[in-house]
Symmetry: C2
Subunit: 257 residues, 2 copies
C-alpha cells in the first residue's frame, strides 16, 4: 500500500484508534460493556483456564470478537506490561482515541478546548483528570508518551469508566506538538501558581490548550517555552497548589458554576 | 469546677481544640513546622531510641513542649490507633479546630459557607477535600465521628499541610447538628446528581452548609431529611458523578472561576 493512499490512511487511523488494555478485571468489564467497540481479545496460552478466562472467551464469541492466542512473550509485546497483564489483553477500537497529529489535521470548526498533560506520573491523578475533563466537557486530552502515566488498569479504574468516553490524543513529546497547535492559531495556556493573570480573566473564544504540569515541579521548561500565556487560580488561606484533577475540573467547569 | 463556669468553658474549649496526630513522619514534620502550636508530645517507653525519636525529643525541648512517656497501652489510649501510631503521638492546639456545637454558639456575623461530610470513608478523598476547601476559601468542614474517615496520617498527607489550616468542626452524628444549623437560619444544600436545581443557580448570601455524600451511595437518608434543598452539578458526556474533592472545589471556587 502506498503511504498516502486513502486505503493506507484509513487503516492507519483505525490502528491509531486502538487502545490496548490489560489485566483480567478491566478486560472482563470492557467485554461486558456492550457500548464499547471491542476489536480483538488476546490470551496467553499459559493461562489456567479458570472461570474468568472461560467467561471472556464466551463473551468474545457472543460478540463475534476475534480471539488470538500467544505465548507469554507474544502477549507481553501486545500488552507492553508483562508484569501486570495477567495473561490477558484487549484491543478497543475507540473512535475518540487517536493521535494529536491526526486531530490537528482535522481541527473542528468550533473553538475547542483541550488539556495537555506534562509530567503527570501518578495513575490515580491521570484517571481523575480524565473523569473531571470528561464531566466538564473538555474536547480532548493530549497525553504524551514521554513523562506521563499511560492508560493502564489503575488509570481506567480511577477514571470510573470515562477513559473510554474521553477523546485522548496521543503524542510522543509534548513541546513539539504544542508548537504545531500554536501554528494553527491555538493559544497555549500553562497553569502556574506564579502567573500574574488568572484563569477567570481569560476571555474570548479561540482554540485553547491548557497545560497541566507536575504537582511538585510544575510545567517543564521546554513546554513552558511553548506557552503563549501563563494563568493561575487564586487560592485562599495561603494554599500553594491544588490537586491536578481539581485544576482540570475548575478549567472545564469554569463557564457554568 | 462548675460545668458552666467561665473557667470550665475555657478549659473545655482548649481541649476541644486539640488535634492528636500520630505516626513518626507526621509527628516529626509537625514538630519541625514552627507555625503549628504544639501542646504535648507523647512517647511509648517501649520505643527504640533511634535518631527519629531523638530528633523529636530535641525539637520538643527546644520548643518547650511537654514530653509524656507512656506504656504501650497508655499511648494507644491517646493515639486511638495502636496499629499505626508507631509509639508516637502529638497534641496540636489548633485555634481552628473545635466542635460544631461551639461554632454554632458563636456564629460569625458574615454569612459563612461550610461543607458537611456524610460517609466520606476514603482518607485520600478526605485529605483532598480539606485541601480543595481550604484553597477555595470555605469557612469550615463539619466532620462527624460516625461514618467518616478521621484525621490520620494518610489524611494529613493527602491534605498537603492544609489539615492544620482549615477550620474542622467535629460532631458525633451529622443529622442532629444539621438540624441545629437549620434552626439558626442556615440553608442545608445536599449535593445530588438527581437534583433538579443546579449549584450555579444558587444565589443570595446566607449561611449555607453544603452536604457531600458518599461517592457510591450519595447522601444518606437521615441527612437528606435535614436538607432544605438539593443541588446538582450539570455534567457533560453522560458522566454520572465527580470525585468528591472535585465537587468540594467546584463549590468553593464557584464565585471566582
Amino acid at each position: 500500500m502506498v503511504e498516502d493512499s486513502p486505503e493506507y490512511l484509513q487503516k492507519r487511523a483505525f490502528y491509531d484508534s486502538l487502545l490496548t488494555i490489560y489485566g483480567r478485571k478491566p478486560v472482563l468489564e470492557a467485554l461486558e460493556d456492550l457500548s464499547l467497540p471491542v476489536h480483538k481479545l488476546h490470551l496467553a496460552r499459559s493461562n489456567r483456564r479458570d472461570h474468568l478466562i472461560a467467561r471472556m472467551e464466551q463473551l468474545a464469541t457472543e460478540r463475534q470478537v476475534e480471539i488470538a492466542h500467544w505465548d507469554r512473550k507474544g502477549l507481553s509485546r501486545i500488552s507492553k506490561n508483562a508484569r501486570q497483564d495477567q495473561g490477558v489483553a484487549l484491543d478497543l477500537a475507540l473512535p475518540h482515541y487517536g493521535t494529536a497529529e491526526a486531530f490537528l489535521q482535522q481541527l473542528p470548526e468550533k473553538p475547542c478546548e483541550l488539556l495537555a498533560l506534562d509530567g503527570i506520573t501518578n495513575p490515580q491523578n491521570l484517571g481523575m483528570i480524565i473523569r473531571s475533563a470528561c464531566a466538564g466537557g473538555m474536547d480532548g486530552i493530549i497525553l504524551p508518551k514521554k513523562g506521563c502515566a499511560q492508560m493502564d488498569p489503575l488509570v481506567i479504574k480511577a477514571s470510573t469508566g470515562t477513559a473510554f468516553k474521553m477523546r485522548l490524543l496521543r503524542c510522543e513529546k509534548l513541546a513539539p506538538i504544542l508548537a504545531k497547535f500554536r501554528e494553527q492559531g491555538a493559544r497555549i495556556c500553562g497553569l502556574s501558581s506564579h502567573a500574574r493573570d488568572t484563569l477567570a480573566g481569560l476571555d474570548g473564544r479561540q482554540p485553547t490548550v491548557f497545560v497541566l504540569g507536575n504537582e511538585t515541579r510544575g510545567v517543564s521548561d521546554d513546554v513552558a517555552g511553548q506557552c503563549t500565556q501563563l494563568l493561575r487560580i487564586p487560592m485562599q488561606n495561603g494554599v500553594e497548589s491544588l490537586n491536578v484533577a481539581v485544576t482540570a475540573a475548575l478549567i472545564g467547569f469554569r463557564r457554568q458554576t
